[in-house]
Chain length 367, copies 4
C-alpha cells in the first residue's frame, strides 16, 4: 500500500502542476527615481485560520495577478477550523514558502494579532515564529512580535464591528506608537477606505497600507486588485522591510492612489509621455498636445486656475494606455511671446489627505 | 480566554457572511417536455484530498455560477495534506452540507476511488459513508459503494497519465458494467473531451457526464462553467438519482452540447421562438424569418440539403440571446404553392456521436 | 458603360448585404399590464444635416441594438454638407424607409427645428413633409409641423450653449404649451441629464424623453443605449403616437429609469420573480428569500423604514439577470404570528422627481 | 437669415468637437531595427462611393484605434449615392484632409479602380487627381494612376463574386506586373484571408497588405482592427511610400502576422524580454525562465525538435502583456556542461508562406 501511494503521489504531481496558472498579468505602474515600485498585499488568510483556501493558493493568485510580494497573516486567536486542521501558526508560511520561491514571489512571514478594540487587529510582518505570539495579554503578543523584529500595522481601523459609530484613535494606539510597536495603518481594507487613517498616517508618520484581507478565493472587482505600492531599493524582503520602516508606500485601489505627494507626483509624471513640439500659440488659435498615459491608472484632471493668456479644458481624463488630446486655445495677444505655458490641474484620484488631492503643474514649451 | 474566543466567534460570523457571494448567475438552458433541466457538476475536490479550497467554497461557487447540484468527490486513496488535516473521508461533505441547505444547492455525497488503470478513477455518488470505501482491493471498494446505493462513473477515461497512447476500454470495465457497478462515464473532464467515451456511452448505455474535476478555486474560461445537464422529474436529490440511473443527461462545455438526440432536439427547439408570419414566397422574392434564441448557447447551423424551390444561407449562427434574420429566397415558380417550407440544418455544436451532429428540421409556414 | 454599371450594381448588392448586422440584441425590459414596452430613440442625425452617417446606418444600428422605433431628425436650418449633398429635408427619411421595413423597425418621420433660445431646438415627430418646415419665423415652422399632426419635443432644455448658467423655462415655452405646440421634453440627451426637465414634465404634463441625439456612428457606453421606453397599445407607428400624446413613457439611461410611478412601479415588479415559500420566521431566526431579476436593469435598494419584528439589509442590489438572497431575521417574538412581512425599500435608480425616488413595498408571505 | 446661419455654425462647432473621440488606443507592436512600425489601413469607403460614413469618420476611427496612416479609396466606377451626393472623386480626400492634419493621421490619397475580373479591383495610392482615373478602358485608368506616381494593389484577389471556384492569377496581372503597374496584393481583406495571395507575393515580389475595405462604421471583432504594418524610415507619407515600393510590410489580423521572415523574426524577438539568470541546469532538475511579452500579439509556440539534454513543453502560449513561465528540465548528465541551451519553436500564428510558419530559436544561458 505504501508503494502504491508513492506511485500515486508521482501521478498527482503532474495534476497539480496543470493547476498552476499559465500566465502572469503585468501591472503597469512606473518606477520613481531611485526606487523600484513593488506591488504588494500584506494581509490575507488561509484555512489555517478562518480563510477558505490552502496557503499555496495565495502565492498562485499573487503570481497571476502580477504582485511582487505578499504576507499571509492568519489570525493567532481565531482558528475556527481547528477541529480538522492542526493549530500551528507557522504552517501556512511553511506550506507556501517553497512555491513562492519557485514563482519568484517574496513571501513575508506574518500573523494577525486579533483582539477587541482597543487596540483591535494588528498585523505583525517579518516575524520569525508565529506560535510565540499566542499570548493572553495583547501587549505581550505585540512585544513578542516586535522582539522578533516585526513591523506592526493597525488593520481596518474604522471597521464598523469594532468602531460602529465613529473611527477613533485610542490611548492604546498612542502608547503603541510611542513604544515603537505601531508602524503602519490600513487606509484601505477589502472594500473600505478609511479617510481618518490617511490623516493619522500623515500626522503621526505611519506607513500607509492598502490590503485585501482576503479570506476566500481572490475575486477582483474592476480592473485591478487593491494593493500597497512599495518604493524599494531592491526587489527583496530586506528591500521591502527598509521601505516600510521608512514610510515609502502608496495605497492603490479602485483606480485611486493615496499617499504622500513626494511619491504621487513622480509616479504621475513617470506615467506620461508627450508629443509637444513648440506650440507657437497665438490669440484665437488652438493647438493640441498629445499626452500618452503608459500606466494602468486613468488620471482624472480638474483645472485649478485658468491659464494666463490661454484656455484649456476644465476637465480631462488621461485614460490608461491611451493618448489624449489636450487642446490649448490662445485668448490674448501676449500668449505669442510666452516661452512656457504653465497649466495647473488637480488630479481627483490622487489623494494626499482626506480632503486634499494632488495638484500637478504641466509646463508646455511654447516658443 | 474561552469567553473572549466566543466573542470573537460572534464577530467573525459577520465577516464570513460578507464573503458570501452577493448574487447568483442565471443559466438559461430551457426545460424539455416532462423534465426540469438541472445544472450539475459531480466531480470536484477540496483540501480534504488534494484540492486547495475549503468544502464550503464549492457550494458558494456553485451558487454564484447558477448550478443546482454538486458532488464533492475527494480521493479516498490520496491525501497529500494529511500532515495538517484529519483523514476522515466524510468531513468534506459534513462541512459543506449546512451551507448547501442555506443556499438551496443539492449536495450529493460522493468520493473518488483512485486507482491505476484498469479500472482507473471512479466516482461513487449517493454514498452514505465514504470511510468504508477505503479498501485495499479496488473491487471491494466499488462493491462497498454499490452496496451503499452508489451510482458509479468512470472518470476521465482518456487521461494521458493513465492511457498515454490510446483510449482503451478494458476487460475490467466490462466486468464492472456487467456487475451493475458502472453506470456513467465522463465524456468531458476539466478541459478535455473524450470522443471515445461518447461512443461507448451510446453503445453500452452509459450515462454521459461533463465534470470540472476542479482542484483549486474555480476559474471559468469562456462564457460558462462546464456542467452536466440532468433532466429530472423534480429538483431533489432523489430526482437527480433517478435521472442518472435512467441516462437522462447532456454534457455541456465550450458552447457544445453532447448527448442523445431525444434530449438535444427538444432542447434546441425549446431555445427558440420565431416571428413567422406566412411567408408567401414567390420566385425571385426574398423574405425573412426572425429567429430569437433565448438560451445561453449560440447554435452554429450548416445547411444539410438545399431547399426545394428556395434558397437559404449555407451557414448561419443563432447567437445566444439575440435575434437572427433567416433569409429565404424563392428560386422557382412552384414555391408559391407550397404550404410549408422545410429547411434541414446540421447543428455543428450539438453532437450525438463522435462523428455525427444533430440534424434539425425547421418547417416554416408559407401560405 | 451603362450596362457595365448595372452589372456592377448587381455585384455590389451582395457587398452591402454583408455589411448588414448579423444579429440583434434582445433588450429585457418587461411589459406592463395593458401595454407593450417599445424601445425607442427619437432624436438622431445623418449626413443630410450635420451627422456623419448615411440614413440607412441609423436603421441598422437600431436593429442591432434591439430598438423598436426611431426618428431621424435632421436639422432644418443647419446643413453644413450642402456643398456636397442635396438640400432636401425629406431625403434622409426616404432613403432609410425601405430598409426599416425590411428590418421591421418603425421609422417615424421627423425633423429638428433648430433655433436660438428661446425656444431653442425642437423635434417635430410624425410630420409628412419636412421641407415645409423651413420657415423664417420659428413659430411659423412649429405651426406648420403641428398642422401636419406633429408631436413636438423641447430638446436638451439645459444645453449649456443655450442656457449657460441656469436651466430656465421661458415665456415662449408657456406660449407653445398653451397653443398645443409643445408636448414633450428631453430629460436626457446624449450624455446629459436635466433634472429641471423632469420636474417640468411632472408639473406641466409633458411627455418625458431620453434621446441620443447621435451625430456620428453610435457608440454605446456602459451596458445599454440610452432610450425612451414607450408603453404602447400596439407595436405600430400609430401605437407610438397615441402613447406619446398620452404621456406613457419612461427615460432609460445609465441603468436609471425616470418617469411616473404609475409606470415605474409595475415595471419594477414585472422584472422580478421570487422563491418565497412561507417564511415561518421566529425571533432570532434568519430566513432567506431568493429574488430573481429577469430584466437588464440592476435595481439598487435602500431601506426606507425598519421592519416590524424583523431585520432586513439596509442596502441590497438586485443585479440584472441574477438571483439575490434577501435575508430576513426575526428580532421579536411577535413576528411568529404575522401573516405577511412588509418591507419598504427606496429604489435609488428609479426616479419620479428630481429629488424623489420610487418607494416599493414587498409583502412576503410568512405563515 | 445669412447672419443667423453663421451664428448657428458657431454654435455647432462646439457640438462637432464633442463628437470627436476622447482618447486614442495605443497599439503595442514593437519597432524593428532601422525602422518605425507604422499601423496602416489602405482600403476603405465613404458616402462618396458606396460607403455609409462621412470621410471625417474614417480619420476619427483611425485616431481612436491607434493607426498612423489610412487611405480612403472610394470606387471610381460605382457611385450609388450620386442622386444625393456630388460625383467628384476628389471630395472624400479633400473633406478628410483638414481633420487628418489636426489629428496627426497620415492621409494617403487613393481610389479604387473597380472592374470585372480580370483584373478585378485595384487600389491606386498616392495619386494626385482621382477624377482623371474615370476612364472607359481599365488599363488607361491604371496607366493614368501610375503616371500620377501611384502604387497599385490588387484587392481581395480571391473574392468569391469574381473568382467563385478557384483563386486564379490571370494573364492580365502578369501584364500589369511586367509594366510596373502592379506592386502589392491584399492577403487579407475585411474578414477573408487569401493564402494564394501570400504565395504570389513571395514569388512575384509583391508587397503584402491587410486592409479592412470597411464600408459602414468600423466594427472591430476580437482584440484589434486588421491592419498593414509598414516598416518605414520615417512617420511621413514619403516614408510610407518608400517602404511600400520596397516591400516592407506585414499583414496583421486575428492575432496573426503574415510576411517575410526578415520582418517577422525581429518583430517577434523585439516583443519579448526575459528574466534569464544562468540556469545551471542538471539532470532531473527543473528550472524556469520568465518570458515577458510586451506586445499585443499572443504568440502560440509549438516545439519543432526536442532539446539536447533537456525537456521543454510541447506547446506554450506567450500571452500578450503577460509573463509566462518556460519550464526546462534536465534529462541527461551532459546538460550540466552546456553553455547555451538552444530551443526551437514554430510560431503557429506567424506565417511566412501558405504552408509554412516562422521557426524561432531561443538560446538561453546555462552556465
Amino acid at each position: 500500500m505504501r508503494l502504491k501511494r508513492l506511485f500515486l503521489l508521482f501521478l498527482f504531481l503532474f495534476v497539480l502542476q496543470l493547476s498552476y496558472s499559465q500566465s502572469r498579468k503585468v501591472i503597469n505602474i512606473p518606477e520613481i527615481p531611485g526606487y523600484q515600485t513593488l506591488k504588494c498585499d500584506f494581509h490575507m488568510h488561509t484555512v489555517f485560520s478562518d480563510g477558505t483556501v490552502w496557503p499555496t493558493v495565495r502565492v498562485q493568485e499573487a503570481w497571476e495577478e502580477g504582485l511582487d510580494a505578499i504576507a499571509i497573516t492568519d489570525h493567532i486567536e481565531y482558528l475556527p477550523h481547528s477541529k480538522d486542521i492542526v493549530s500551528d501558526h507557522n504552517r501556512s508560511f511553511d506550506i507556501a514558502e517553497p512555491i513562492s520561491k519557485n514563482m519568484d514571489i517574496i513571501l513575508v512571514k506574518g500573523a494577525e494579532i486579533t483582539r477587541s478594540m482597543p487596540p483591535g487587529h494588528l498585523n505583525a510582518l517579518f516575524i520569525t515564529n508565529a506560535n510565540l505570539l499566542d499570548r493572553e495579554d495583547v501587549f505581550d503578543a505585540i512585544k513578542e512580535a516586535r522582539d522578533q523584529g516585526a513591523f506592526l500595522i493597525w488593520n481596518h481601523p474604522g471597521w464598523k464591528r469594532q468602531q460602529p459609530d465613529t473611527t477613533l484613535w485610542w490611548d492604546e494606539h498612542t502608547k503603541l506608537l510611542k513604544s515603537d510597536m505601531l508602524h503602519g495603518i490600513e487606509v484601505f481594507n477589502s472594500t473600505s477606505y478609511y479617510p481618518e487613517a490617511l490623516d493619522w498616517a500623515n500626522e503621526k508618520n505611519l506607513t500607509m497600507f492598502c490590503n485585501t484581507d482576503v479570506h476566500g478565493p481572490m475575486k477582483i472587482r474592476g480592473n485591478h486588485r487593491p494593493m500597497t505600492l512599495v518604493f524599494a531599493g531592491s526587489r527583496t524582503e530586506g528591500g521591502i522591510k527598509e521601505a516600510l520602516f521608512n514610510g515609502r508606500t502608496v495605497a492603490y485601489f479602485d483606480n485611486t492612489l493615496i499617499g504622500k505627494s513626494i511619491y504621487l507626483e513622480p509616479l504621475f509624471f513617470a506615467s506620461l509621455s508627450y508629443i509637444n513640439n513648440p506650440l507657437e500659440l497665438d490669440n484665437k488659435v488652438s493647438k493640441t498636445i498629445q499626452i500618452k498615459n503608459n500606466s494602468d491608472v486613468s488620471y482624472e484632471l480638474e483645472l485649478v486656475q485658468p491659464g494666463v493668456g490661454f484656455d484649456v479644458p476644465e476637465e480631462i481624463t488621461l485614460e490608461a494606455h491611451h493618448v489624449t488630446f489636450l487642446e490649448i486655445s490662445g485668448n490674448s495677444d501676449e500668449v505669442k511671446a510666452m516661452k512656457k505655458l504653465n497649466v495647473y490641474y488637480e488630479v481627483k484620484n490622487l489623494k494626499i489627505a482626506s480632503d486634499k488631492n494632488l495638484v500637478v503643474t504641466f509646463s508646455f514649451q511654447n516658443n
